[in-house]
Amino acid sequence: MRSLFSFLAFLSAAVVSALSTSGNRLLVVLEDVAEKENYSKFLGDLEGRGFELSFENPKSESLALFHLGERTYDHIIFFPTKAKGLGPNLTPNILVDFMNAKGNVLVTLSSGVATPNSLVSLLSELDIQLPADRTGLVVDHFNYDASTAAETHDVLLLPPPGPVRPDVKNFFGAGAGKDEVLAFPRGVGAALGSSELLTPVLRAPRTAYSYNPKEQAEVVDDLFGAGEQLALVSAFQARNSARFTLVGSAEMLQDKWFDAEASKVGGKKAAKTFNREFAKRVSGWTFNEIGVLRVNWIEHHLDEAVAVNESNPSIYRIKNDVKYTISLSEYAWTSWAPLTLPADDVLQLEFSMLSPFHRLPLHLDAAHSSATESAYSTSFKLPDQHGIFNFKVNYKRPFLSNIEEKNTVSVRHMAHDEWPRSFVISGAWPWIAGIGVTVAGWLAFCALWMYSAPVGGKRVESKKTQ
């Protein structure tokens, strides 16, 4: 019985660890364990997806993100805490180290609770600015929930977000029903810097603005941000593909807004909230369950009529025809799937020495693709420049983990016997003829010098001797 139980435990552990691509140890930072009840559906969903949740108080002395230099957790969620600081175990330095060690962080804010200093410093490190007094409230007098915030207008109802750009896959809002709305109750808006690593997931509507409810209750004199410059949910992906997500309203993850009904001002029907699915996608993206790319294999070879059938040779000659193929997979919740590119996006191959000589689109190669991978390939002629070159695929896109693959090859110049023969070059014909004539003339001269008899009898020797 005991062995059966342990076997089952082992089996479930194996299934569980397969779900996120980077581990399932999730630290939940909560000040009050009673608060857990408000997020029971969200946390239950996470557990259902295979995460092992550990709850800790930020001030807890036993809390350590690293043990002997290794991460003790794979992911962290911060729920709003009333304390001004987060204690000595969660300093911004340690959090940055955690992200440098490829740990993922999800931070939730709430307008009623001032954001801890530690998180404000971490956010400014990532080029995310919060309102000055570490608190702010986003209101919109045009898109609010009439049933719960008819007077205060601080529960924003937003349509599920569309793609950030036409060439970026819509991870967070795709497939939402037409009349589904996203409730954003009592949240904080952030201003994002111009860093390429930052992407807004959810922007505020055009008429929304952020104000300080304590000091600006009567009149907004100093505006922190308004309209679409306010990011309500924003995503940051570091160069090592560690992910960080800022959710401006922790309340939107609470049970009361999951599968709830909200009524838009002026709207007749009550609309269902999209919050549960959105929370699943945001946490799934942050904890590496979606949008993770993997390179399965890379192959390049000579693509010529008399080709040597060798894979990935280390040397090519200038002007060789070469074929390059790369196989990629994308992780989608539970399994690896072939990577499909959005319509406007392309995967590009660079053939570079210092700077790229070629930058060519890679096309889907159906013959080498399968249900779990998709191969992309291209054929091209190597440049007429010898040196050390790289086949480089640098695929960095918002919301997708970074791919930077470099395969170094030498490109040699033409050997002396690989040029066309001189008799093929018509311009050389007079010179070849000249050599032939010289040879024939030399042989004729030798014969004449040795075997010619004098003409007209004997020479008059006396004249010469005198």
Binding site: S194, R206, D384, M450
Partner: protein, 287 residues
């Protein structure tokens, strides 16, 4: 086309105006004024919440745009919580909000000059769309209406502000290497003509020698005197040319060198004898 363009927003506004007539925010006594820094006449135009100005106002580098209005809730002057002038760049949809300074009685003003505008708006090609947003807490409906267009005038003497687009990850322009052109040959006719001209010098040389009395009459004499040496010597000269020919077509240097050594040795050894015979003929006065 132009007519429908101008009618459509007017209709929309009319509809909006009807809707707002029930209960909600609005404004009165609206005006926009462009004041030049240097002494000059200030241009002042009245604006209303029902129809935007037909002509864009232009804002020069030293000018100040001053918007003033009285916000009203259901026709009564009152201070709204949100009173913004929003400037939008029509191509990118980028917006910049400017909060109005509002008094208790709803009188509100905003002043904007070039230095207040973000650089993206300063560099806009089309006139910016200005709209007024007035709203507050409670049930009164807010107002969000376009009021006028602003044309940003730039001074030709002042260089435009530098703006560098931020880096965004996405596809990059394609690059195709430009190959150096292949080496070219002159037309084949010319090569052929000069090739034949070169070949033609050989018969000319031989004819010239024959005309001067060149012959091979002593061949039998030489063979009679030293057959082996002469055959080997002349043969080795021929063989050397053959080696050179093989080197040109297929052999490499290491195949050629031993053969040259062998042929060269044969030339030297047979040459002493053969050339000695030639010398003996000379000494005999037969050359």
């Amino acid at each position: 086309m132009r007519l429908t363009q101008s009618i459509a927003p007017a209709l929309l506004l009319l509809a909006a105006g009807v809707a707002q007539a029930a209960s909600g925010w609005g404004f009165d006594d609206g005006s926009v004024q462009i004041a030049a820094k240097k002494a000059g006449e200030a241009v002042k135009e009245k604006i209303s919440q029902t129809s935007p100005l037909s002509k864009p106002v232009s804002l020069g580098t030293t000018d100040t745009l001053k918007l003033s209005l009285t916000a009203k809730d259901n026709g009564k002057g009152k201070r709204p919580h949100q009173a913004f002038l929003v400037l939008q760049e029509p191509e990118s949809g980028l917006e910049a909000p400017f909060p109005l300074t509002v008094k208790e009685n709803g009188k509100a003003v905003a002043q904007i000059s070039h230095k207040d505008l973000p650089v993206q708006l300063l560099l806009a090609n089309k006139p910016l769309k200005a709209s007024v947003v007035i709203a507050s807490f409670g049930s009164a409906q807010g107002l969000n209406t376009p009021v006028f267009d602003v044309k940003i005038e730039t001074d030709a003497n002042v260089p435009p502000p530098a703006y560098e687009k931020p880096l965004r990850y996405g596809k990059q322009p394609e690059i195709h290497h430009i190959f150096r052109p292949d080496p070219k040959s002159p037309p084949k006719v010319i090569s052929l003509f000069f090739g034949l001209a070169v070949i033609a010098t050989l018969p000319a040389l031989l004819i010239g020698w024959v005309a001067l009395g060149g012959n091979v009459n002593h061949l039998s004499k030489a063979i009679g005197a030293a057959l082996l040496s002469h055959a080997t010597f002349f043969g080795s000269i021929l063989a050397m040319e053959f080696v050179f020919f093989m080197y040109y077509t297929s052999w490499n240097l290491f195949q050629v060198l031993p053969v040259i050594a062998a042929v060269g040795a044969a030339t030297v050894f047979s040459g002493t004898k053969a050339l000695g015979e030639v010398q003996s003929r000379r000494l005999a006065g037969e050359r």
